[in-house]
């Protein structure tokens, strides 16, 4: 009986489309290169985006409002207080492994925090930073 939740989790992970952060980043790089010839992702630009204060949303002026200044640390939801597991894939192996989930959260969080949709280039940069930060 105790094995049942683990088994269900295993099945769920098999059912969802698992990829590596590199594969997901590469899909955004390809999309960005279509708009901007010779585009190459930059972890440094990704970090700037992560730390930028957009101040569109009072409670969540920046990514760091919930994810803290250190993406290797656990964060806390700025409204509900719920613990958020680390954003960096170097600290949390589950991050950036499900393309649909990645797209969903870029969609929600860019709209709420940045105030607009993020571009494929920004997404590629962001994942580059989150998969390299140590």
């Amino acid at each position: 009986m105790r094995a049942l939740p683990a088994l269900l989790l295993l099945l769920a992970s098999l059912a969802s489309h698992a990829e590596t952060p590199q594969q997901i980043r590469q899909a955004y790089v390809a999309e960005a290169a279509g708009q901007q010839a010779g585009f190459a992702p930059s972890a440094k630009r990704g970090e700037t985006l992560f730390r930028q204060r957009f101040a569109i949303n009072d409670k969540m002026p920046a990514c760091t409002s919930c994810h803290t200044d250190n993406p290797l640390s656990a964060g806390q939801h700025a409204v509900t207080g719920k613990t958020i597991r680390p954003l960096a894939s170097t600290a949390n192996a589950e991050r950036f492994t499900d393309p649909a989930k990645v797209e969903k959260w870029f969609g929600r969080n860019c709209k709420e925090v940045v105030g607009r949709a993020c571009t494929p280039a920004e997404k590629a940069d962001f994942i580059a930073y989150m998969s390299e930060v140590r």
Binding site: A12, V79, T80, G81, K82, T83, R108, E112
Partner: protein, 153 residues
């Protein structure tokens, strides 16, 4: 004697049962995924069916966030919540928009919690059940598992 022990044990067990809100076994994966990212996937019994209906019909403006779910998952989550909802006459009105924390049941159960605990940065919001109810994710809201002494620093 055996009987007496049984009665005594039952007496001990009853208060614990009252604060057990286990997640119904037919909870769709999308419920935990969609409703459990920003906050705990709240036990459906904590709101009445019509209040869950109001929540599900207003997800695009969900307490300041756009919490829209895919058209595929929406009906599954809605029918799950409604089929396991609590009784409105026992919970009391949840207000509009409905909030679990505004029901008379929630208020009655938490009346002894001092205001400074709610304001503690580790709690942040009354929606953060797990800050005090360490077993909330497993449906355990019993008084014996409360982490409040830790907040009395």
């Amino acid at each position: 004697m055996k009987r007496l022990t049984l009665i005594a044990l039952l007496g001990l067990a009853l208060p614990a049962f009252a604060d057990r809100l286990p997640m119904p076994s037919d909870a769709p994966a999308s419920f935990k995924e969609e409703c459990g990212s920003c906050h705990l996937p709240f036990p459906p019994a904590l709101l009445a069916a019509d209040d869950w209906g109001r929540i599900m019909n207003g997800l695009d403006k969900h307490f300041g966030s756009d919490a829209t779910v895919s058209p595929k998952n929406w009906p599954k989550i809605k029918s799950f919540l409604e089929s396991h909802a609590g009784r409105g006459d026992r919970l009391g009105s949840a207000g509009n928009p409905p909030r679990i924390t505004q029901t008379q049941r929630f208020i009655r159960k938490h009346h002894e919690v001092p205001a400074k605990f709610w304001r503690d940065p580790r709690v942040k919001s009354a929606a953060n059940c797990e800050a005090c109810h360490r077993g909330a994710a497993n449906g355990n809201y019993g008084e014996h598992d409360i982490a409040i002494p830790e907040l009395r620093e």
